[in-house]
Amino acid sequence: MSKTVIQVNNLGKQYRLGQVGTTSIADDFKRWSYRMRGKEDPFLKIGEENDRSKKGNSDYVWVLKDINFEVKQGEVIGIIGKNGAGKSTLLKILSRTTSPTIGEYKIKGRVASLLEVGTGFHPDLTGRENVFLNGAILGMTKIEIKKNFDAIVDFSGVERYIDTPVKRYSSGMYVRLAFAVAAHLNTEILIIDEVLAVGDAEFRKKCLGKMSEVSKVGKTVLFVSHEMSAISSICSTGILLSNGRIAKQGKIDEVIDEYLNVFVQKSTSRYWNEGVRPGNEVMELISINLINEFNQSIQAVSMGQKFGVEITYELKEDGVRINPGVTVYSTSGQILCVSMPESDKIITEKKVYKAICWFPETLLNDGTFSLRINAHTFYPTKMHFDFQDIIIIEVIEKQYEERKYDYKDKVLGLIQPSLTWEIK
């Protein structure tokens, strides 16, 4: 059994909301006077659960409460949760940039935290000087940096600019160099906060590859991200935070499922009540749903699963030809494809219809896609309704290890259709 390298006991963090001013100095005096009399801090007893959307009664909130977990050596643990769930605070505490209000944690080994890339980069210094400075800030010694210098420059791919001040760099080059330093840290534990959300696709792939490589040599990684595909591809276990508490921990698949099904605001189904239904005198839209092959609503799609977009509408006038249309967009706004039903499938009798657009098992690669859904009658062209980003599809590739190819890392591209191969 591998040994425990991080142990967190009853960790909690309390913040005071509002501004620093006369009220806070009054509270400080109260706290100080209690401490002088040997009593417990009076503000630790109060404080509410952290829910940013609700108005509370107290100025004190617990952004983290009752956090207990252990991390074993070599584990890659993903921390997920909504905005404001306490993920970053947890990482801040574990990377020692702030201290907990209550509780304690213990760590074995050197820790490097990457809550940001390029911390301490000085714009006037050259790339070379910044590599040394940044490496030292992250806890490397000069000798270690020297030893890895060529590898860092090589990984970043900015060799040509290495003796130019970094303020002349493009933002992409800056990030590449900064991540390259971080990727060559020689510590036993790495704490990473969404730094991968930068750089171009090629570089991101390199980063993800580097991270899974790092875990293979026995290093422990704590990783926070909103990108489920990145989390599920490199993490083995996960922690789901909700309002400052641990909502679920365990195998990464289960944690992600819980997150997507319970916590993500549903953008996989829409329903309109009578009276507010979009449309016109000929037709009205009732609902749009993302469904699986058994016609059940789903929140996310596993790669290899057949799924459909179900558009329910009412035709209010006989003889009108309704052409529903589905347009698939990538997150960068690129159109992947447009689809509409064949002419002979369109029925013009007035009643409620379900139009289902089925996606084959192997089409979309893992990632997030957004759908634009509309309905037309052509020649003369009339648009009945049109919704941009009405459905968001999250396609998740569960475990690369189970893939039927030799290659077990992230496959590039927006689509991953199963093309037929012949090797003679």
């Binding site: 425990t4 801040k92 940039t97 509780g103 213990k106 760590i107 074995k108 000087e129 806890g139």
Partner: protein, 282 residues
């Protein structure tokens, strides 16, 4: 299972007063050196005169002092006015720049401190050292000016036997400014009121630090007050050692060391308490 003592880091909300981890600072010595290098090299980037500015600055200040205070006929203890003000200016500059920079340790570095952990004391230490480099360069100017007066005026006698004390007096200036600086930076993380105070305080301190007046100008209690001030003592003793004019007293130096040491310990405790959670209040 686990033995209690094989954890490398244990973090709890409350820590003991003197949990300064000197070993940890030693681990980060490369960082200190790189920060010093950064400070020294980045200041004069994109200037044509470059490090020459280090000389131009004290020359101008000295000329201004010589003109203004010289006109007012203030005594200079028999030292040529230009040299008197240049000595004062050079060492006072070291002190005040260290103080100004270290007193914003937390506020100026909050971006870095919020993202990465390293012993926070690394930052003010690097400031003290990089200013020491600057002082070293400015001392060249001082030596040149000094030689001119030494060979042209007969009244100056270098106290060769006391020359070894100069590094200790510079150290005193450095540690004293570090203590005041980290104390102020800790006090200003949550309530910024002290920020307004420090500007006045530095100006006031300059007049009480024998930069433009010799200590002998004051009598009685005020002189005593001045001699409790480590900056005044350092400046006065340095002047005495290289010119032979003024008052020399080993007691004054020892008292200054004591004052500085007590202040340093006190500041360290406050700094250490602040660094744990200043990110939440800065």
């Amino acid at each position: 299972m686990q033995q209690k003592d094989d954890w490398d880091i244990i973090v709890r909300p409350k820590v003991s007063l003197f949990s300064i981890n000197l070993k940890e600072i030693w681990v980060y010595k490369d960082l200190i050196l790189l920060l010093v290098k950064r400070d020294v090299t980045s200041v004069y980037k994109q200037t044509i005169l470059g490090p020459l500015w280090m000389f131009i600055q004290p020359i101008f200040a000295t000329l201004i002092y010589t003109f203004t205070f010289g006109q007012a006929n203030l005594p200079t203890d028999g030292i040529p006015a230009l040299l008197f003000y240049l000595i004062g200016q050079t060492f006072w500059n070291y002190f005040s720049e260290c103080l100004n920079k270290t007193s914003v340790t937390f506020t100026a570095n909050s971006a870095v401190f919020g993202k990465v952990y390293f012993p926070r004391l690394v930052m003010p230490l690097s400031v003290i050292i990089s200013n020491l480099v600057k002082l070293g360069i400015q001392l060249l100017l001082l030596i040149i000016v000094f030689c001119y007066f030494y060979f042209s005026e007969s009244s100056m006698e270098i106290q060769w036997s006391l020359l070894f004390l100069i590094p200790f007096l510079i150290l005193l200036l450095g540690v004293f400014s570090l203590s005041l600086g980290i104390l102020f930076s800790s006090l200003t993380t949550k309530y910024r009121d002290f920020n307004f105070l420090i500007g006045f305080a530095v100006q006031l301190l300059m007049f009480l630090s024998c930069v433009v007046f010799p200590a002998s100008m004051f009598k009685g209690n005020i002189q005593l007050l001045i001699l409790l001030n480590p900056v005044a003592v350092s400046l006065e003793q340095i002047k005495y050692i290289i010119t032979g004019h003024g008052i020399f007293s080993i007691q004054h130096i020892l008292i200054s060391y004591l004052v500085t040491f007590v202040l340093f310990l006190f500041s360290l405790v406050i700094f250490n308490r602040t660094e744990k959670s200043f990110m939440d209040t800065v």
